[in-house]
Symmetry: C2
Subunit: 240 residues, 2 copies
């Protein structure tokens, strides 16, 4: 009887934490899309909303950490339940990082709003952000449903995001070489592209956590391998 | 008697985890310096060592996480001890990220080895890396000694790293505008500078963890505020 009582108290506490994770996920999903949109439509008000909104995301992470620590201390969960709580903490840490990247993107909107737009890059960035947003939705779904297949699918899709980033990197190099007046804008845009690519890495990390939670295995991976700009010498035209 | 027995078992287990943290810290400190040196001396062998060495860092983080989870499950620590274990896990997560950034820097060494060096930038980057390395040493010392003053000092010094980054960012913009043949090299160097600046943020985060552990307070901060390149419009010459 006592055991069962303890078990259901654990479940109830965990549900409270998971509700906060989902709330946090919703805020982060919106921040990704809003940051990219504020860039494309030069909407400084929307960018400001993303920047200010990051506080709520950070506060949720703090609360989740405190709740999780209290849960462990109070309920002394078994090994399996403990793993679950630790997973939740890692997911919230990843969400917090993604929120930071979105905030960082939004900070650059006001600078870029004052520069000539770079031929199609803003739209490409937004497509990238939309893909990351979809991946995040699916990663959080895969957590709730304990769906390993869905989590694996998210991990595979990260390669598309990496490819979009590689294409943009090449484009920026070209634009800068064509016209030095593009350099500053391209430097900022490149930052945003790299940040979006990193968001994808954090979403991948969430999906990996789900797989580990369900199967006990950490998927073999080298998350950075698809960013070819650090190794592909064909991107270095003046190397020869 | 039993209580005392449990307490000392906890201490013994924790000591084992802390030894791994210190080992991990040593590897990460070396990776930071080696990555920057491999760039300056165009030493591809050293860069390869950093890239390969990151595996050992990742494995240590895995082990620390497993040990910590086992410790919590087995010893059911009190609130204070639990906070300590969670802090250790966060420190190891930060160390792992810093190691990743060092690996990422080292990946770019081979590309940059084939390009003309950019006037003094490599040396400036190395100075930045050395400062981050010193900060990391002190942050880990502050953890071992539970020294809040030392931890606060580390946090303050991060502003210097941010300033070094801002100066480099301006330099890279100038070099690229002066001569488009500098663009590719500067893009890679800028990446490395930004990665080093981010390492500083993670060291700061470790110092903040120490302060939280000792005092229970999270220092009020906006870690990104010193990167002025995302807000300072004076960096946008063609804005007008």
């Amino acid at each position: 009887m006592t055991d069962q009582h303890i078990a259901s108290a654990f479940d109830r506490d965990l549900e409270g934490i998971q509700a906060k994770i989902m709330k946090m996920g919703g805020l982060v999903e919106a921040a990704i899309l809003d940051a990219a949109q504020s860039l494309e439509t030069r909407d400084e008000e929307l960018a400001e909303k993303v920047r200010v909104g990051d506080k709520a995301i950070d506060e949720l992470e703090e609360m989740i950490n405190e709740d999780a620590a209290r849960l462990i201390a109070l309920r002394a969960p078994t090994a399996g339940d403990l793993r679950l709580v630790l997973t939740v903490m890692k997911i919230s840490a990843n969400l917090e990082r993604i929120g930071d990247y979105a905030k960082n993107m939004a900070k650059r909107t006001s600078i870029l709003a004052n520069m000539s737009p770079i031929n199609g890059s803003q739209a490409a960035l937004r497509r990238m952000a939309r893909e990351v947003n979809e991946m995040l939705k699916d990663a959080l779904d895969s957590y709730i449903q304990r769906d390993v297949t869905k989590a694996q699918d998210v991990i595979h899709r990260d390669a598309d995001v990496d490819q979009m980033y590689n294409a943009l990197f090449r484009e920026f190099l070209t634009f800068m070489m064509e016209d030095p007046r593009n350099i500053t804008a391209c430097m900022h845009l490149h930052f945003m592209a790299k940040n979006t690519e990193r968001m994808g890495d954090h979403v991948t990390s969430i999906a990996e956590q789900v797989i580990y939670l369900v199967t006990g295995d950490t998927p073999e991976e080298d998350r950075t391998k698809q960013d070819k700009t650090s190794t592909d010498t064909s991107l270095s035209p003046q190397a020869s």
